[in-house]
């Protein structure tokens, strides 16, 4: 039996470990690292959350090898707290993550946009709605993909007012976001010849009983009841509007409503609701193909929602730009990657063809949908009827109106 010299054994073990590490380091230096920072536990978990991470991975799986780059995806929960989110993003960027993806909740997104700029890293925003991200707070390191408040207000306000919904009543969450949504929508309604008959502001947060506002809305005799709020507040308003019978003679428009909220409300409650989306899985062959590819891996085998699809589209476009530049160059200078992303036309299964504007705004057509009645639906996830389409160039705020310092000339 051979005796093994302990020191020699340790020595070779140590030597053996260093070899692959240095090889691995060289490889890692070329790996594009994407961090999905999203809401894994709070109110936005369903429309973003794990699904966003899965869609980002899907993009990497489909494209990284084809484009000849290496990429990896990590994820974390920002708990909807700007300080937690900013902290994680800062740490990620300092420790070699190149891109932060998704980030629902505008306060967190605004903070991260600032950090990305400071550290010359990239921020692909899909989940946050604030149009400030491509307005006064725009940044050469940020691309804003899926939607924003302006587009939502325009998509619903403009189309509905043109379609005969000429008198409006708002139920508004009494804080900056609610006010902004009401103000923007009002502009479009009035531009399209409509009138706003009144608005009820309710204390935010912690209002759950909306009955008095429903009575006010009914008394206004407006044709459209617009909900300038988000999340569970919107869901509660819709339920209570139904209970009060408002849906019989009023059209309800959720200004920040989306697919997953319709899913959790159920068609029985949500039917007839109008809302604006930039992605619906059943729009065309390409979206159907994409959704069916990703569906088996999604939580609860859900169809992807627009923000999740946005993570996919943004990641695909990023990988293409990074591959065109070479991974090392892409890692070194995020601003150059964004320049390249703006120069290249976008094309992915979820959003089709489009482009990224110089202010960082990704543009694509948006659709106004009406939620189907239960008997119209052919199964789970079959929720929408298309009402109108807004072409890409008209759907978003014109660059000149955004006050973005990057494009002011």
């Amino acid at each position: 039996m051979t005796t093994i010299n302990r020191r020699a054994l340790l020595g070779t073990a140590a030597a053996a470990t260093t070899l692959p590490i240095s090889a691995l380091r060289a490889q890692q230096a070329q790996t594009l690292r994407l961090g999905v920072l999203t809401d894994m536990s709070g109110p936005y978990r369903d429309p973003t959350g794990p699904g966003s991470a899965i869609c980002t991975q899907q993009a990497v799986m489909e494209f990284a090898q084809r484009l000849g780059v290496q990429a990896e995806v990590i994820q974390a929960d920002h708990q909807n707290r700007p300080d937690v989110g900013a902290n994680i993003a800062r740490q990620w960027y300092d420790q070699g993550v190149d891109v932060v993806v998704d980030v629902p909740t505008s306060s967190v997104a605004l903070a991260i946009s600032q950090i990305a700029r400071e550290k010359n890293k990239l921020f692909l925003n899909s989940g946050a709605a604030s149009s400030d991200l491509t307005g006064p707070a725009c940044s050469p390191n940020t691309v804003h993909w899926t939607y924003d408040t302006y587009m939502l207000a325009k998509g619903t306000g403009d189309a509905l007012a043109r379609a005969g919904g000429d008198t409006w009543f708002f139920i508004t969450a009494d804080y900056a976001f609610g006010h902004a949504l009401q103000r923007d929508t009002t502009t479009f309604v009035e531009r399209a010849g409509g009138r706003v008959l009144g608005a009820a502001r309710y204390p935010f947060p912690a209002t759950t009983d909306f009955s008095s506002y429903m009575v006010q809305a009914q008394a206004s005799r407006a044709k459209v009841l617009a909900l300038a709020n988000a999340g569970t507040d919107t869901a509660n308003c819709i339920k209570q509007a139904r209970e009060f019978g408002l849906t019989r003679n009023m059209q309800i428009a959720g200004l920040l409503m989306s697919f997953m909220e319709v899913h959790s409300l159920g068609l029985e409650t949500a039917q007839g609701l109008l809302l604006t989306e930039s992605f619906y899985w059943d729009s065309n062959d390409r979206t159907r193909a994409f959704s069916q590819r990703v569906q088996p891996r999604m939580p609860n085998r859900a169809m992807p929602a627009q923000v999740q699809a946005g993570c996919y589209g943004a990641t695909v476009h990023y990988l293409k730009a990074a591959a065109a530049m070479g991974a090392a160059a892409a890692k070194a200078d995020a601003r150059a990657v964004v320049e390249r992303m703006k120069a290249m036309p976008t094309d992915d299964d979820a959003f089709g063809e489009g482009r990224v504007r110089p202010d960082g705004r990704k543009i694509h057509p948006t659709m106004l949908y009406r939620v189907k009645q239960p008997r119209e639906s052919r199964g789970t996830w079959d929720y929408y009827n298309l009402v109108a389409t807004n072409p890409a160039e008209e759907a978003f705020r014109p660059m000149a109106e955004g006050n973005c310092p990057l494009v002011r000339g």
Binding site: M40, S41, Q75, A76, D77, H78, Q79, R81, P82, D83, V84, A86, N87, I88, R90, Q91, D94, Q95, S106, S107, L110, A111, Q114, I115, S130, D132, A137, D174, Y175, A176, F177, P203, F204
Partner: protein, 328 residues
């Protein structure tokens, strides 16, 4: 409220202060803490350490009130958050230097503490806690509405600026040293306060308020001063945090923040000078390194809280002190 530090069966050795009111064991512990402060940024991520220090100072300020006066304030987020907002506003809009901004944060905390404390100290126990909570909620709703706070977006991109107008704090390391120095100053200030004759009166109020009154002390005045000191330091911690991270948001004024600081003090050890520091380090580390587990962070925090209440009633530092039979 049980008087913290005054657990039955605690049999401390007779210890004399050897230096600046520190006993020899405290001096050793203080040395260890300073050494950790010096070495840590070379091994750990400095921004994370700065967060720990901000919360450690906040927890120390809170502990001054509960640990040494026996007043459980459930509204400390108000001073912390408002300090953060005003410091952020001062640095960003008024363009003041960071040290002035942080001082403004402290001043705001002190003024708020004076107003709220003046009303709250008239009641004891649960009523005191509820009054402070009610005022903190008022401050929260004020922050939701007030234009200068930026509503739910908060004050974004607050510049770190130049210390005294000359030393740039852009790099994490230089910011870290400033944070560490401010934390140490705050820590030593609290230590000095509780070992002064004033601090002795506070402790006597904690142990037996009627008796302190009968000895001729105006206990309400002492409680109010302690309250204001605690609020001012919480404001400094908040201001420091907003300068370090560049944002001030609603999270810092929300009531869960008040709960978090109670948890930190409790985990570390109420009524011990090192307890809140250890507690803050433990809680922030958990939040930071367990972030990927999402909702489980709060569940784990809850479990630790239950564990502390059941098994470590004196908190981590309190238990260690009890085991070694020394005051820490």
């Amino acid at each position: 409220m049980a008087a913290p530090g005054g657990f039955e069966g605690t049999d401390f050795r007779q210890e004399r202060p050897v230096f600046m009111g520190f006993t020899s064991t405290q001096l050793i512990a203080f040395g260890v803490m300073c050494a950790v402060l010096l070495i840590a940024p070379f091994f750990l991520y400095p921004v994370f350490l700065m967060k720990v220090l901000c919360f450690a100072l906040f927890a120390c300020a809170f502990n001054l009130l509960i640990g040494y006066v026996g007043l459980l304030s459930f509204g400390h987020a108000a001073y912390f958050g408002m300090g953060g907002y005003l410091a952020g506003h001062a640095a960003k809009v008024w363009g003041l230097t960071p040290e002035l901004s942080i001082l403004i944060g402290g001043a705001v905390g002190a003024v708020l503490g004076l107003v709220i404390g003046w009303i709250a100290i008239r009641r004891q126990g649960i009523y005191f806690a509820m009054i402070t909570l009610a005022f903190a909620q008022m401050v929260y709703f004020f922050c939701v509405q007030a234009p200068f706070t930026g509503g739910e977006d908060g004050i974004q991109s607050i510049p770190r600026g130049n210390l005294f107008g000359v030393i740039p704090l852009g790099s994490d390391m230089s910011m870290y040293w400033v944070t560490a120095v401010i934390f140490l100053l705050g820590f030593l200030f609290i230590h000095r306060a509780i070992h002064s004759p004033f601090g002795m009166v506070l402790k006597s109020v904690r142990e037996n308020e009627p008796r302190a009154t009968s000895l001729g002390y105006r206990t309400d005045d002492y409680k109010l001063v302690a309250f204001v000191l605690s609020a001012a330091l919480a404001g400094v911690a908040g201001g420091l945090k907003s300068i370090v991270f560049g944002i001030a948001t609603l999270t810092d004024v929300f009531w869960t923040m008040s709960g978090e600081v109670v948890l930190m003090s409790l985990v570390g050890g109420l009524g011990t000078i090192f307890g809140p520091v250890v507690g803050a380090a433990v809680i922030i580390t958990m939040q930071n390194y367990l972030a990927e587990f999402g909702a489980w962070v709060t569940v784990i925090q809850g479990a630790i809280f239950v564990l502390c209440v059941l098994a470590f009633r004196r908190g981590i530092v309190g238990e260690i002190g009890n085991w070694l039979r020394v005051r820490l």
